[in-house]
């Protein structure tokens, strides 16, 4: 991990309110794992004061600008405009200077090659699933992606997932794209069909909570990517903790989302406290 003082390669709106940004980041690709994130510094001047965390959508290479130069290595994020920081980001252009700290955190464990892999993403929660899907496909796994959103605007990158060889299932609350209804209903159907599946999920907390409950019922292993307010991203401020399984007042267990997470195996989390948390962060990690 490193603080890249770097430049924007491109920044485009891909769906109303959703943007993709490629940032120049030599050496990033070989260090990044699926599910990791970066801390993004919007601009040198205030506000905002703090960096903003964003999941890594993917890393990659663009052709060199000129023969003889190495290819251009980038890290790509996808973000939703929700507040002050992301609004400023939406105004940035190619060539603007930014700082990206990463790759950070513990990503998905994709070592198990057995069984079906079911990925469940809600809205901006699709972000970390792309790198995950490509790694799982590379590992020879069969990958199904259940994409959920409020409306069709919340569904993006479908073709890219499909190009990886992933089977995609779309559902939206208003039926404006794919099936009408919650993505969790699709999950139940899939788990009935593939009882030995492994589930990976990222999305708003109520969705994750429903996914967790379904996986409990079907005794399916689950990894989730969580979101907490973060100041440092490197385990120094202790601002981003979640309660671990078995947390009690007397024997507390607080886990840093930024270093132990953002991806957790669901059995290690204290789901009752997560349900209460008023984490109105909107999106996901």
């Amino acid at each position: 991990m490193k603080n890249y003082r770097t430049k924007i390669i491109s920044n485009q709106e891909i769906s109303p309110g959703y943007f993709r940004m490629k940032v120049l980041a030599p050496g990033f690709d070989e260090k990044a794992h699926p599910g990791q994130f970066v801390m993004f510094r919007v601009q040198r001047s205030l506000p905002p004061l703090l960096r903003r965390p964003f999941g890594i959508f993917r890393t990659g290479f663009l052709p060199a600008d000129c023969d003889g130069l190495p290819p251009i290595e980038f890290v790509e994020i996808v973000y939703k405009v929700v507040g002050r920081g992301t609004s400023i980001m939406a105004e940035l252009h190619e060539g603007d200077r930014v700082e990206v700290l990463g790759p950070l955190g513990n990503g998905f464990d994709c070592t198990s090659r057995q069984g079906e892999k079911i990925l469940v993403g809600g809205g901006i929660g699709l972000v970390p699933l792309y790198m995950l899907a490509s790694e799982l496909v590379a590992n020879g796994c069969k990958v199904r992606l259940l994409m959920g959103g409020r409306t069709r605007d919340d569904i993006f990158a479908v073709t890219e997932f499909e190009r990886l060889g992933v089977e995609t299932y779309i559902s939206t609350d208003d039926g404006s794209l794919g099936e009408e209804g919650l993505v969790t209903r699709v999950l139940e159907r899939k788990l009935q069909k593939y009882p030995d599946a492994e589930v990976f999920s990222c999305g708003p907390l109520p969705m994750l909570n429903a996914v967790h409950n379904i996986c409990l019922t079907y005794k399916t292993p689950l990894q989730v990517s969580l979101e907490e307010s973060m100041a440092c991203g490197v385990g120094a401020c202790l601002g981003c903790v979640v309660k671990g399984a078995g947390h009690t007042e007397e024997n507390p267990s607080y886990l840093c989302t930024c270093t132990v997470g953002p991806v957790f195996k669901s059995q290690y989390l204290d789901w009752s406290s997560l349900q209460q948390t008023d984490n109105n962060c909107g999106g996901c990690a």
Partner: protein, 313 residues
Amino acid sequence: MKAVTETSVKRPDLSVEIAGIKLRNPVMPASGTFGYGEEYAPFLDLEKIGAIVTKGLSLKPKAGNPTPRIAETISGMLNAIGLQNVGIDAFIKHKMPFLRTVNTPIIANFFGNTLEEYGEVAKRLNDIPELAAAELNISCPNVKQGGIVFGTDPRAASEVVALVRKHLQKPLIVKLTPNVTDITVVARAVEEAGADAIACINTITGMSVDIHTRKPRLANRTGGLSGPAIRPIAVRMVHQVVQTVSVPVIGIGGIMRPMDALEFLIVGATAVQVGTANFVDPAAMMTIIEGIEAFCIEEGIDDIHQLIGSLKF
């Protein structure tokens, strides 16, 4: 920032002494914003900063507050971490092995929930030979006295400093809270009780509300305000304390840029601590050190002591 080449200019001497410890330069992290040092090792050379200050340590591990623990405000942030830390035993076992390998003075920040606990931690700190000094955080509620914060009452502050002084065989830095009517009264009290140096300021209590949920943005309701927003208040308090005590003062509060650190040095701080800025830029302290050096060169200063306390009226 101008590049400084050995051949062209003589590098100014930035070294200072605080409570008998010699620091290569006056810039160190503020407790709680730099973990236990190791977290930031990937981003800057720990042997280039003046000292390493740890997260606040207590006798037993402490879990801290529920989340959300942090919220951003205009030019500042609120935190209510609740002094989560691994406890002194785990610190010695798991954190010191790394810190021992770093050739930079280590300062352990610590606190207790009761007067006795403060004394106990102080004793345990003696067991760590590699520790250069201890920084006593008196911005903690005194559990026995109905939760009033030690550092807001000159008598309680004096008592806890005297007790720690008795038990601690290391240089003692006392860190003051700004949430007081007159910081000079507390500063004088802790100096008389045996502080070798004073650090100020800790965070200022603040609150922020989400108007849509109508809930406080921190689970703990209130939290400590840090960052650039508090700097003018911190500069004022450091100025007051410097005029009051004769021990060295470490200035803290909203230092983001070299010029911010210089403000504190000019009003008389012998060293500074950088807090929130580490989150914004993990190499902030390097930029600040280089900027101080460049300023000295520009102003023809060859020893940082020519700058410290050079405020004109």
